[in-house]
């Protein structure tokens, strides 16, 4: 392991009153890595994403991006450093057009040339199959298309270093899912962008992610390849209860 990972989560804990959502979580993602983050419901996956993106602040521990601590840095500044995220329920701007939804992060994250932004959005809309919907209000899109648009919005950012995806494939039809996987792969290959993907869709995780981190009851239960995870007795127990036998 190199001296400093692109994204380093160091001993992070988060308590909400008496509830411990994350306990001493440590995670290191190297440049170019696509990491899966899986675990049963209530394992603290979304909380961990919130802690990394800055929506929540940790009770203990810290998060570093390219070696620099993100302690006390608000979400918009993390975004400007290239740390973006998506939400389980897409946070789009419903009455704004699909294209405007893409131009917003482009302009907010340092792109000042509207024409270049338009070209970029044209290209991404074409590749994601949303081109004919470019001038539609985003709220007219189907759930899957909204999830896709949300993902694509992050790709408008030139300086994207690390992209946190919270359940990007939930409720998305297979065709759009394929498009999303292609876009993620392509961006990762071209720019060595790090992805941390929370998902319950094991086939997709297996396809995309070289390594997987398993979270259970707020702690890191296991880390390894998908094959190792599938063989791990404790992971299977955590997911299915102890009665289950293969």
């Amino acid at each position: 392991m190199s001296s400093e990972a692109l994204l380093a989560v160091e001993g992070v804990s988060k308590r909400f009153g008496g509830l411990v959502a994350n306990q001493d979580v440590t995670l290191r993602l190297e440049r170019g890595e696509i990491r899966g983050l899986i675990g049963p419901n209530g394992a603290g996956k979304t909380t961990l994403i919130n802690l990394i993106s800055g929506e929540e602040s940790p009770s203990a521990g810290e998060v570093r991006l390219e070696g620099r601590s993100l302690l006390g840095i608000p979400p918009f500044q993390r975004a400007r450093r290239g740390l973006l995220r998506t939400f389980q329920v897409p946070r789009l701007f419903g009455t704004m057009t699909v294209r405007e939804n893409l131009l917003l992060p482009y302009l907010a994250l340092g792109g000042r040339d509207r024409r270049a932004g338009r070209r970029r959005s044209d290209e991404l809309l074409e590749r994601s199959g949303l081109a004919r919907l470019a001038e539609e209000p985003a709220r007219h899109l189907s759930g899957g298309q909204q999830a896709l648009l949300q993902l694509v919005a992050g790709f408008m950012c030139d300086g994207l270093r690390c992209y946190l995806l919270d359940e990007p494939f939930a409720g998305v039809n297979p065709l759009i899912k394929e498009t999303m996987i292609d876009l993620i792969r392509d961006h990762n290959r071209r720019w060595s962008t790090v992805f941390l993907i929370v998902s319950h869709e094991m086939p997709v995780i297996r396809e995309l992610c070289s390594r997987v981190t398993v979270l259970a009851a707020g702690r890191v239960l296991f880390e390894g390849t998908m094959e190792e995870v599938a063989r791990s007795r404790e992971v299977v127990d955590a997911y299915l209860g102890r009665e289950w036998t293969p």
Binding site: S53, E55, P74, P75, F76, Q77, A79, R80, L84, R85, F87, V89, P90, R91, L92, F93, G94, T95, M96, E100, L103, L104, P105, L107, A108, L109, G110, R114, A138, R139, A153, C157
Partner: protein, 300 residues
């Protein structure tokens, strides 16, 4: 009694009502715009109208003279914009960074306190006097109706300002960010927008819309420390009619209120001018309690 008014006269009153409606709409737009972005209501809106009318009066009477009123207006708008940004930074921003739990209550207390402070300050500094910047604009005859030139000018410039506002909102980058923030405050931060700074700008723009209304109406009505009270009342009447947070609601509601007042005055009796708006409001609440363009909840 209904037929006592000729169609021609009715048309004149309609036009006069729409003209006043434009200025009401400016006021309401400021309220609804600030609410739309910050999700808090600025109860001190009328006081920014008052400050706008005073600034306009001071610039016109001490610096430029009544002929250059149109030059004073941008200065009025700009100075109140800066004042608004300062007020937002000092008084309202803490509720977004300090983890205040009940923002609505906080904003209500703060802006009502601000209302009292500004009104009392104006009374202390100005005393009980009433002023007018005066106007050299000739009266305009609309059919049988003679309208003061300043009133026509106010309506025309009001339309221009509304146009500028829409251009800003739909053709510029800050406009895009403001529209986005109005829909999703969390999403806009994730997209990299500095929301705390955007709030300052939104508040500045909102109160400067009120100041523009105050500046434009300074020669029509008088300038005095409590002249914002009427403006506030009308502004909030419109918000209820049009629906809170709706830009179109503010526009249509403003024009409707102007119309209701003008037609009520023409057809029934001018003495109850201020009551017709409330009548319209009560009727509308019976039929559509969320206002013309109101939304029960924002759906993304």
């Amino acid at each position: 009694m209904w037929l006592a008014v000729s169609p021609g006269l009715l048309a004149q009153f309609t036009l006069a009502g729409l003209m006043m409606g434009v200025l009401y709409a400016l006021m309401a737009l400021g309220i609804t715009f600030i609410y739309g972005v910050m999700k808090t209501i600025n109860w001190a809106m009328g006081e920014f109208y008052m400050i706008g009318s005073f600034v306009q009066y001071l610039i016109v009477s001490h610096l430029l003279g009544p002929d250059l009123w149109w030059l004073a207006l941008p200065a009025t708008a700009a100075s109140v914009f800066v004042l608004g940004m300062l007020v937002q930074r000092l008084l309202l921003r803490p509720m977004f960074v300090g983890g205040v739990e009940r923002r609505d209550e906080y904003a209500t207390v703060i802006t009502i306190a601000l209302l009292l402070l500004l009104r009392s300050l104006a009374a202390v500094i100005n005393g009980p006097y009433q002023h007018t910047p005066g106007s050299h604009l000739p009266d305009v005859t609309l059919g049988p109706l003679s309208v003061p030139g300043a009133e026509v000018a106010a309506a025309v410039v009001g339309v221009l300002v509304l146009g500028l506002f829409f251009l800003l909102l739909h053709r510029t980058w800050p406009g895009l960010a403001l529209r986005a923030a109005a829909q999703n405050r969390i999403g806009v931060q994730t997209a990299g927008v500095d929301l705390l700074r955007l709030d300052m700008v939104a508040f500045g723009i909102g109160v400067s819309l009120a100041a523009v209304a105050g500046g434009l109406l300074a020669p029509v009505y008088l300038v005095y420390p409590t002249n914002g009270a009427v403006a506030t009342t009308k502004g909030f009447e419109i918000i209820v009619i049009g629906g809170l947070g709706s830009i179109w609601g503010a526009l249509v509601g403003g024009l409707l209120l102007g119309l209701a007042e003008a037609l009520g005055s023409a057809l029934i009796a001018p003495a109850y001018q201020n009551a017709y708006g409330f009548l319209l409001l009560i009727l509308l609440l019976l039929i559509r309690p969320i206002g013309l363009f109101g939304e029960r909840a924002r759906v993304v």
